[in-house]
């Protein structure tokens, strides 16, 4: 009597195990229309800006026509800027820089944030106190002013700008990581690993971190969006590398002429808006897919 029941059980367990968790997450993600819309939008923007230069070969720094040609006139889809440069070419070239800086700065902030959050959450006590007080420090310091100061003191190059954004953005990541570590470090499998005399480094990076990743991934995704906005604000204030085209810089250099040529400012701003919108839609989708329990919120 008992034998057939047992085989039945193992069969159903195997049937469940064949659906991998990643496939299940992908399933939830792709059933979410807003997230898919965000993904399609982001991929289109990436294609536009990274494949664009091979199709549309106009040099973004070259003066091609009279300044402030309206969009659509004289064959310029987005018109020309205050120096008579082709805004379409500027948009293509600028997107690469905006997205690259966004990714690099977010990577810096995620690395710093994950390390600090992980150590604080894992060790607790005085280590946690000291590390978390230092994140509060960045809540007091107006971050944009602080990165303006870094750029002003060390010069406006792509490297300093990326660094300046990364160094002020990590506290959010650190807080998320710490919360996850505090929760996971008390779970049974961590205790088991610890009683097996695993080293701290192994426990932090190989046992706890992989399980803490879902909310960190969501946060990291949002960091890319806010880093793009941050870079845009810095270059709007003319504190970015003047030799490199970026969306924020197109806005910054044309902003004195908004009453004559609003389009030269509205178009790159809209590009930033769409990119960050796409990223945050993807972030919401990831959040739902990675934390199915939270979907009831």
């Amino acid at each position: 009597m008992s034998e057939p029941v047992q085989t039945n059980n193992t069969e159903s367990i195997e049937a469940i195990e064949t659906i991998s968790p990643w496939r299940e997450m992908a399933g939830i993600f792709f059933r979410n229309y807003e997230a898919v819309f965000g993904l399609v939008l982001l991929v289109s923007i990436m294609v536009f800006t990274f494949i664009g230069p091979f199709v549309y070969t106009t040099d973004p720094f070259e003066m091609v026509w009279a300044p402030f040609t309206r969009p659509g006139q004289e064959g310029f889809l987005f018109g020309t800027d205050y120096l008579g440069r082709d805004i379409l070419a500027e948009m293509i070239a600028g997107g690469q820089v905006s997205i690259a800086i966004g990714l690099a700065a977010a990577a810096i902030s995620v690395v710093i944030g994950v390390c600090i959050g992980a150590f604080a959450g894992y060790y607790g006590g005085i280590v946690e106190e000291a590390l978390m007080r230092s994140t509060e420090f960045f809540q007091v310091l107006p971050t944009l002013l602080f990165s303006m100061v870094i750029v002003a003191l060390f010069g406006a190059s792509l490297l300093t700008v990326t660094f300046a954004i990364g160094i002020v953005s990590w506290p959010a990541v650190a807080r998320v990581t710490r919360t996850e570590f505090l929760r996971i470090r008390e779970l049974e499998y961590v205790r088991a690993a610890r009683s097996g005399s695993a080293k701290d480094g192994y426990l932090i990076f190989r046992v706890i971190l992989p399980n803490a990743l879902p909310p960190i991934i969501v946060q990291a995704n949002l960091m890319v969006g806010s880093a793009i906005l941050f870079e845009a604000a810095l270059s709007f204030l003319n504190l970015s590398d003047p030799n490199v085209m970026s969306w924020g810089q197109v806005i910054g250099s044309n902003r004195t002429y908004i009453l004559d040529a609003g389009f030269a400012v509205a178009i790159p701003g809209f590009a930033i808006f769409l990119t960050v919108l796409a990223i945050s839609l993807i972030g919401d989708g990831l959040n739902d897919a990675l934390n199915p329990r939270l979907r009831q919120r």
């Binding site: 007091v140 107006p142 971050t143 944009l144 002003a152 969006g225 604000a233 400012v265 701003g269 839609l281």
Partner: protein
């Protein structure tokens, strides 16, 4: 712990944070390439090594690091933030001159964002799947994704260029000749667009928070009790629920002050609002380091003061909260 002791503790902690800001300021200044001796030598048209050493000695730059740091801290303690060679004025005078404009902008934008955020959140919470909930969701997407300078520029295009209702920028009309209340109205008139622009980033956050905490509070037992007693729905919503739902919004708003000041830097530039942000930008362009550092310190001071005030307000709103 009683109310006053907690407040005193918060103030002491805030002072510690400010000292940390100053130390960071000082380290940054000493790490940066070039010092004041180089600047002075540059203005003199060049100097040799002995002259550079003399200049450094006269400014105390030859002293060891910790002595220089101590001198800097004790000078700031009596509000001596140094001298701006670019404006030919003490830095503290410059900052105090520009501070009121920034405070006005930051404070009015926060009040506007909190008010609209709570109103939207409450309306949305009444119907969790209704039209206003959709508005709150869309607003929060927009608030996160739209660069603040872009919002400002779009408002200028709309309300200055297409419908000429508002002025393009500035704090007041200098040609206006009238009584004091006409000047007040004039400043408010100039404030409208910058205030809306700055508030737009935060309305999204606050409305989403207000909606969530309102929904949570409306599920509480005491709300059911109030309804069961026959308290009118209007009174349940606005007297019983709203007060408790406001606490998280005010707490988060207090933590946003440094973000609001960051936003104000950009908004001030868009609308040529003569505040600390515009001053900071000019100082950076002019490489006026004492002024830049003074502004960084002073804006942190403003954030610390506002954080303490928020803490006090939150504890007045909700006496159950014992520690900040």
């Amino acid at each position: 712990m009683n109310f006053w002791r907690l407040t005193a503790k918060r103030i002491g902690y805030g002072l510690l944070l400010l000292v940390a800001v100053l130390v960071l300021n000082f380290i940054l200044m000493s790490l940066a390439p070039g010092d004041i001796a180089d600047t002075i030598a540059g203005e003199m048209g060049g100097a040799n090594e002995t002259m550079l050493a003399e200049i450094r000695a006269s400014y105390g730059l030859d002293q060891p690091f910790h002595i220089q740091l101590w001198r800097y801290l004790s000078k700031v303690a009596v509000l001596d933030l140094g001298f701006s060679y670019f404006y030919n004025t003490p830095v503290i005078t410059l900052i105090l001159e520009k501070l009121p404009a920034t405070l006005l902008l930051v404070f009015s934008a926060q009040i506007l964002a909190i008010t609209i955020g709570i109103i939207l959140g409450v309306i949305a919470a009444k119907k969790p799947n209704g039209f206003f909930s959709l508005v709150v969701t869309l607003l929060s997407l927009f608030g996160f994704a739209a660069p603040v300078f872009w919002t400002g520029i779009l408002l200028i295009i709309l309300f200055v260029s297409i419908f000429p209702i508002f002025p393009i920028g500035g704090l007041m009309d200098v040609t206006l000749d009238g009584s004091w209340w006409q000047h007040v109205l004039d400043v408010l008139y100039h404030l409208t667009l910058p205030m809306i622009t700055l508030a737009s980033i935060f309305i999204a956050l606050y409305s989403r928070l207000a909606r969530a905490s309102m929904l949570e509070v409306l599920g509480a037992d005491y709300i059911r009790t109030a309804r069961a007693k026959g308290v009118p729905e209007r009174s349940v919503l606005y007297r019983h629920a709203l007060r408790n739902a406001m606490t998280p919004v005010v707490t988060v708003a207090g933590l946003q002050f440094s973000a609001v000041i960051s936003g104000a830097v950009v908004v001030e530039t868009v609308f040529s609002w003569p505040g600390l942000g515009s001053l900071a930008l000019h100082a950076i362009v002019a490489r006026d380091t004492p002024t830049i550092m003074g502004i960084l310190f002073f804006s942190s001071l403003v954030v610390v003061v506002f954080n303490i005030l928020t803490d006090v307000i939150v504890r007045l709103l909700d006496p159950r909260i014992k520690s900040g």
